[in-house]
């Protein structure tokens, strides 16, 4: 399953925000690999830096904030951080595409759906007008939209949320990108639509062989659809595991906490839903040791003093923790 060359590789990737002469590091050294054709889930609670990271993969933050990057983003062997604007534009939309949380605001209200899909084709391909039109219909058909011709002439407000998200995905897939970044693509949709969109994404992943970076805070979705998942906490990845294992056999104390705090429909009803104690520390806080130590029920002296390295613990799994809690042993 593992291929030697990753499609996307982050090496010690950091994102710093500069505001009023202060530097805040939001993404604190992430190492991550996405293989071609893989669905990688990126899980974490609000404010852990997952969205910032996903947006900085295409260097979108530069337009709205004062940011600087460190490390490497290797996409197909090329470093995105060292691309000039022209090279970057060729990658965006063509090789890497992105879909967003709220499809309603991600579509321009003044253009028809067909128009917006065509725009990408105009930018990246040399198709004639006629070819573009047929490609639009083909794409909408691929999105399992029943009347592509009618929908292509409609404006975003005439469509339901699910249809809007399909249109958004159609725009993203217009040039058959190698990687799709999906930033909480189903959060704004209701549960049944959510399931349809996830099915669609999985189908596209299989049929087109397109890798997906799936960002979410929903562990259930990761369990259902991701080949592999990374858990993010405070700008770092703390655990990496195959999607199902992460849910069934979490290793890192933080992931354990997350998994335990999901309400279950079966089994005995608990008095109180377990929660992870404490709050997420401020990004500005200088933590000497493990970022999670303050909230970790297993924390020892060592955790507060030493930043744990990433330990590989077999079966494609890795954690950033000093201990293997289940075995009760130190990993050193």
């Amino acid at each position: 399953m593992e291929q030697p060359t990753a499609l996307l590789e982050l090496k010690d990737f950091k994102v710093h925000f500069h505001a009023s002469h202060e530097k805040t590091t939001v993404v604190k050294g992430v190492n991550l690999k996405i293989q071609p054709g893989e669905i990688l889930g990126l899980v974490g609670e609000s404010g852990c830096g997952k969205s910032v990271m996903s947006q900085s993969l295409m260097r979108l933050l530069e337009y709205s904030a004062d940011v600087s990057y460190e490390g490497n983003i290797l996409f197909d062997g090329q470093d995105i951080l060292r691309m000039n604007p022209q090279e970057l534009r060729k990658v965006r939309g063509n090789e890497i595409a992105m879909i967003f949380q709220d499809p309603m605001v991600s579509l321009n209200p003044v253009f028809t759906i067909g128009n917006q899909i065509e725009e990408v084709l105009k930018e990246h391909t040399r198709l004639s007008k006629k070819e573009r039109k047929s490609r639009v219909l083909e794409l909408l058909g691929l999105m399992e939209i029943s009347e592509p011709a009618r929908v292509s002439k409609q404006y975003p407000h005439e469509l339901s949320g699910g249809m809007q998200q399909r249109a958004m995905i159609a725009i993203a897939l217009a040039c058959e990108p190698k990687l799709l970044i999906a930033d909480e693509p189903t959060t704004a949709l209701d549960v049944t639509t959510q399931a349809q969109i996830m099915k669609l994404l999985q189908k596209l992943n299989l049929e087109l062989g397109m890798a997906i970076l799936f960002i979410t805070h929903d562990l259930g979705l990761v369990y259902e659809s991701c080949h592999r998942a990374e858990v993010m906490y405070l700008g770092q990845t703390v655990e990496s595991a195959p999607g199902r294992d992460l849910f069934e056999l979490p290793k890192h104390p933080y992931t354990k906490g997350l998994a335990a705090s999901i309400p279950s429909l079966t089994g005995a009803r608990k008095e109180k839903l377990p929660v992870i104690p404490g709050i997420v520390p401020s990004l500005k806080e200088n933590l000497g040791g493990c970022a999670f130590a303050k909230r970790c029920p297993y924390a020892t002296e060592k955790c507060f003093q030493q930043i744990p390295p990433v330990f590989s613990i077999g079966e494609g799994r890795a954690i950033k923790c000093h201990y293997d809690i289940d075995q009760g042993v130190s990993l050193l």
Partner: protein, 278 residues
């Protein structure tokens, strides 16, 4: 639905007034047997009657035909100023909203221009350039562009942050594509509304300039200069003040009704409507 019917009324009134003015400017001169420049000392200050619909002025010229020719100037200047300042305003506003560096540069220039009272700036520009219709258009465009640029900019700043603009970035759209194809359509309603106000205020400013002697100069007819000539004789020749004044009121009223109605109809949310006096 009730709401929509309601907001159509000002548009109808406004556009009818404007249509009447345009007809007056286009065909008014044909209805009158007089020449706008022909003096007739025997007929000085004759009151409105069958021969001279709106009376005559101090040189015995027919006021009706002079007002009709003046309407041509007013409408032409108003339209050109609205058009040119919209064009400049949208370019300045969009680019200022998009590039931080340009924002500081362009908006400080606009601040500088709006710090000087509009009419004073126009008079100064007219004094420097000399009186002619072209120069009036240039001077008034300089005066009204900063306003429009500011409104376009504030609208564009909001649009720029919209996820659908960010989405174009992710699709590899160039900056000029984003600015002109994706951002500008959202600004157009606000721009059209503002342009109609610029039209009205340009008509008023032209009249003020001509009134003060810095605009269209005699013997060329202008509403402003006709009003000015009435100031000495207002007791004897009330028609010299009434008719150009009425035309000014009507044209500004018509355009503002049109702009207001359009704004309600298109539901344009401008920062000025929040603060606005109306």
């Amino acid at each position: 639905m009730k709401n929509q019917n309601k907001s159509l009324i000002p548009i109808w009134i406004g556009s009818s007034i404007l249509a009447i003015l345009i007809l007056f400017a286009a065909f008014g001169p044909m209805l009158s047997p007089f020449d706008p420049f022909e003096m007739n000392m025997a007929e000085r200050f004759s009151p409105p009657g069958l021969a001279n619909l709106m009376g005559t002025d101090e040189f015995g010229r027919d006021v009706f035909i002079r007002l009709a020719y003046g309407a041509r100037n007013s409408l032409l200047i108003g339209f050109l100023v609205a058009f040119l300042s919209s064009l400049l305003g949208i370019v300045i506003g969009l680019y200022a909203s998009y590039y931080k560096f340009l924002d500081h540069l362009l908006m400080r220039i606009c601040d500088g221009l709006s710090a000087i009272p509009g009419i004073l700036l126009a008079i100064a520009l007219m004094a420097a350039m000399g009186p002619s219709v072209t120069n009036i258009v240039i001077a008034l465009t300089v005066v009204s562009t900063p306003n429009i640029a500011r409104i376009v900019r504030s609208g564009a700043l909001v649009i720029k942050k919209q996820p659908y603009i960010e989405a174009v970035h992710t699709l590899g759209g160039s900056h000029s594509r984003i600015i002109w194809l994706n951002m500008s359509p959202a600004i157009l309603p606000a721009l059209l509304v503002q342009a109609s106000f610029a039209f009205a205020s340009a008509i008023l400013s032209e009249a003020s300039l001509s009134f003060l002697g810095a605009g269209i100069s005699e013997p060329q007819p202008s509403w402003g200069s006709i009003l000015q000539s009435s100031t000495h004789v207002i007791g004897r020749a009330w028609w010299l003040a009434l008719f150009p004044g009425l035309l000014l009121v009507l044209s500004v009223l018509g355009l503002n009704l049109l702009g207001d109605g359009a704004r309600d109809l298109m539901d344009v949310k401008l920062p000025t409507t929040k603060k606005g006096g109306r």
